[in-house]
Symmetry: C2
Subunit: 586 residues, 2 copies
């Protein structure tokens, strides 16, 4: 075989007259008046090759080739006739006149065409993943993924971060039920766990004085499979010492800006928008708001608490609230039936009803309009900026239900009404998180992020008196309504860490048993430290404009389809079991 | 706390007069005539800070600090008196006069000093890994590791390779006894396996038309722990399509050359030396020879086969051979006792004896000298290039024993006699491997590399007639006597792959069951492909000039010491077991 001289997709009119050797796959073959036209594809693109009488042997062989055959072609680049130019592909102005062809390998007819624009059910795509990945849209997604990691690594290494690999076989941590466990052959009867994140290791590297660590790390969660979740996933993991929260945020902003510029050629303005958690919940009913459009939640509790509409008044009286969104100019576009469907939708989120008012030149209309008069109408109109033609949608309930239901409704309507500029990439920091959440069921506090998150210094004393009011030095990074990741400053004093464990309900002995190594390490001179982690798979998905997380993973897991090596794990053989020394009486 | 302005190790006389804020660890404190001198360390180096009457409050605080306290220091850079200059460190011409100090965190006295040149037993180092990693020599090893991976990635991505992540949770493959197995919670009673390499996935990516893949991949082997082996290890994994063996070798040579230049500032001349497997075994008794020194094995079978020394004559008669190494000019340096020790040493490798001759002006001396006379003496002298003062060491046995014992003896003597230039990096390709090895015990052939290795085209027909003579298109890369890695062209035709499986003793059904997905994939247009993999841990070890593989892994596994999170995996809890649904009757 000859050495390849060019890639298919790179040939243009600049190569006119050149002899080339191409290698690739047959995209399609057409016979036309004694000539055979073959589109040859490699990962860079497609080029048209012509076989004719000038090379009768090649013509004979070309007659035998079928789609997806692997071929080597020698030929000469010529310009196409003006009338034959294909403006849709980069190589559309030229074609290659073949002088020779070798069939390197044959192919059966594939179960689906290797093209971007065909509908293929996902099961077939996953079963024949090696063919699905041949489609240019898939190759380009993985090229993007590779480019993104390259850009991330270069930025961080230029900022003198070290990439350090932490173990995959680790000790099981307390929330262990969802860890994957790995029996050890060497340590009989004992198990490793696969890490849910490198959190503890990266903190230990800060104890080690590494100061700037990162890793693009594989993490694991033994959870049910869904389209938006994989049991193994990849996380960009960063930790630094001696930096303040603002310094860490600023550094990560420059990282995101660099990636967007280098990979997507998109300019992101810094600083990125920041929003306290409370404000995000108030205005968007979400801790990861999509800020590419308005349709915000409007607080009406004070205005309607004394209204004659009992549903509203009672909700406020019972400690809940009343909020609305104003669907501008859409009063006429939503029939009662449409609104019934929306009511059904918000019920998923626990809302017992969806009140509505249509605003007309004559004032409010609709079943609840009669309950509002005079000043209240003016106040609602003013608060919601209501104008004739608007549709107001109300939920009255406990705060979490109002947020969840109106937040979800806002997203649904935003998409339906085309309010979202899909070409925009809206990054947002959500800050000022609570340190703790109260678990009603367990009757105790749990960590809102994780047990190593640092409270604001001025809030530390409230840990004893009013734990729910303690804010964390934590920050989430949100992109287009998706939580990309988050981070925090960490506790670096043994006594504060012990206080935190106590608040979370650990006895001294339990804390010692599970985190003794960390508490001991904290006695040997630990620097202030903090960091961030964000999901690479999801980041790739959003930048590639995909909606299925599996499209960003070369060999994903699926619950149903048998996907090559990764799915439906094998039954273990008796020999393997013996090796494992599993002495388990179940 | 103030923002850090400088790293400790970067301050030089160019910073004279500048106000600086430093953050780091107290290396040591000395009190001297009302002044306190503190060496402050961060990951970049050490700088001397002086506390005196100019800042009495700071002086009082400085009096309290101890080794490994974390401190923040404000001060001004001044030149040291000529007499105080320390030429051994980069910051030796300056010191920082402190105006302020904050103790950020205290520290207990560490179990060992944080210095490069202290002897610490490995158990303590691993128990307190976070302190061991504070030692500059360890930090620098991990910086080197990060720099090496950066250089590798940049080179490959510049050559338009894509980094693709392949699964960690995979299907178990036939040689599964040494796989780690991972019970699945979702798929009851079934197990994933952790991959020993991404071999099958990277071949599937070639089926997918990715053409150029790489990954710096974590791999796993459930084996006993040794200093030179870890159950999880990292491999630089490369695969390409449409490239010949020479093209792949040449590309990898440029990769190695680039890394050596960028990371070590060492020029490596290309092309690298290549040596057929047979020649390596003949001349060095090793398939991974250290070619930095001579002391080669000399074939003497033909010369001594008719000698009156029965040990030699019979060895040849029984199908074995006789070889020698000439320890130049060292006859007087080895007593009988020394040679007895060498005899003991070669016996480890199965040699039943070590014959020796000392060469004097008067001819051969020693217990076996009397068996050799006249022409044979001349021929031995000529073949071994023997001169007065030389020591000749002989082993007569089956070829594998001769190779193993004399090969090991060569390495031992090379080190003892200082024949090895330790500053040299000698890369070597070992080529022309046999495709198959005959397993006497099992009575069948096994793959010398793996079942996907491609034979030389001209040897394919010998697969039926003389399998042992078939050469593989495989190549190992050796550095300073260590096998770094290796690779091969792969089989890309279904029928040839099936023939290979058959040679290896698989029935058609077994092959189908275990590799059916690959055989099926091979029907859809597979390009010629091949690649290489080499061990990152070992590469780092050699470039860092270390001898213990564990020094290249941040949190290694050990058989004895309890190393933080990674060692002595935990006993699984009943709750975890229940989650795992392990229905195993053992």
């Amino acid at each position: 075989m000859a050495q390849r001289t060019h890639a298919c997709g790179e040939l243009t009119e600049q190569h006119q007259g050149q002899k080339v050797v191409l290698k690739g796959w047959v995209q399609r073959r057409r016979d036309l008046g004694g000539l055979i036209f073959v589109d040859v594809r490699d990962r860079t693109g497609i080029v048209q090759v012509v076989f004719g009488d000038q090379a009768p042997e090649a013509l004979t062989i070309a007659d035998k080739i079928r789609s997806e055959y692997v071929v080597e072609i020698e030929g000469e680049v010529i310009l196409r006739d003006e009338s034959q130019v294909n403006p849709n592909i980069k190589t559309g102005k030229i074609e290659v006149v073949a002088s020779n062809i070798i069939i390197i390998n044959e192919a059966k007819t594939p179960p689906f065409a290797i093209e971007d624009k065909v509908e293929i059910n996902e099961e077939a795509r996953l079963k024949y993943r090696y063919l699905d990945l041949r489609r240019p849209v898939m190759y380009n997604t993985f090229k993007l993924r590779s480019d993104i990691t390259r850009s991330i690594r270069n930025f961080l290494q230029n900022e003198s971060f070290l990439e350090v690999e932490t173990p995959i076989l680790t000790k099981s941590t307390p929330e262990g039920a969802r860890d994957y466990l790995v029996p050890s052959r060497v340590h009989e009867g004992e198990f490793y766990a696969l890490p849910q994140s490198p959190q503890l290791f990266k903190q230990l590297l800060m104890v080690s004085g590494f100061e700037k660590y990162f890793q693009i790390a594989r993490c694991f969660r033994d959870e049910d499979l869904r389209a938006d979740r994989q049991p193994e996933f990849t996380q960009v993991d960063i930790e630094t010492s001696f930096m303040s929260m603002d310094e860490i945020i600023e550094m990560n902003e420059r990282l995101l800006q660099t990636v967007m510029k280098e990979v997507m050629d998109i300019e992101i303005q810094l600083p990125l928008q920041r929003m306290p958690y409370k404000e995000a919940m108030d205005r968007y009913g979400s801790d990861k708001p999509d800020v590419r459009f308005g349709l915000e939640l409007i607080q009406l509790s004070e205005i309607v608490k004394d209204s004659s509409f009992k549903v509203f008044a009672q909700a406020v009286e019972n400690g809940g609230e009343v909020k609305a969104i104003n669907v501008k100019g859409n009063a006429d576009n939503y029939t009662r039936k449409d609104i019934d469907a929306l009511t059904e939708f918000v019920s998923i989120y626990g809302a017992k009803g969806l009140a509505w008012i249509k605003v007309t030149e004559e004032g409010f209309t609709g079943p609840i309009a009669k309950f509002f008069e005079g000043e209240i109408v003016e106040e609602i109109t003013s608060a919601t900026n209501a104008e004739s033609g608007d549709l107001l949608l109300f939920v009255a309930d406990k705060s979490p239900v109002v947020a969840a239901s109106l937040g979800a409704l806002r997203m649904k309507l935003g998409k339906e009404l085309g309010l979202i500029d899909e070409s925009q990439f809206a990054f947002l920091w959500v800050t000022d998180w609570p340190l703790l959440e109260y678990d009603e069921e367990a009757g105790r506090y749990t960590a809102a992020h994780h047990p190593f998150t640092r409270p604001f210094d001025e809030d530390i004393e409230k840990m004893d008196t009013d734990p729910a009011a303690v804010r964390a030095q934590a920050y989430d990074i949100v992109l287009n309504g998706y939580e990309l990741g988050g981070g925090s400053l960490r506790i670096f004093e043994r006594d504060l860490q012990e206080k935190m464990f106590k608040l979370l309900g650990f006895t001294k002995e339990e804390a010692q048993e599970q985190f003794g190594f960390l508490l001991e390490a904290f006695e040997y001179g630990v620097p202030p430290h903090g960091g961030l982690a964000f999901g690479l798979d999801r980041f790739v998905m959003l930048l590639a404009g995909r909606t299925n997380l599996r499209d960003t993973i070369a060999f994903p897991k699926t619950a149903t389809a048998s996907c090559l090596l990764t799915d439906a794990p094998s039954e273990v053989s008796p020999a393997q079991l013996k090796e494992l020394h599993l002495k388990i009486n179940n």
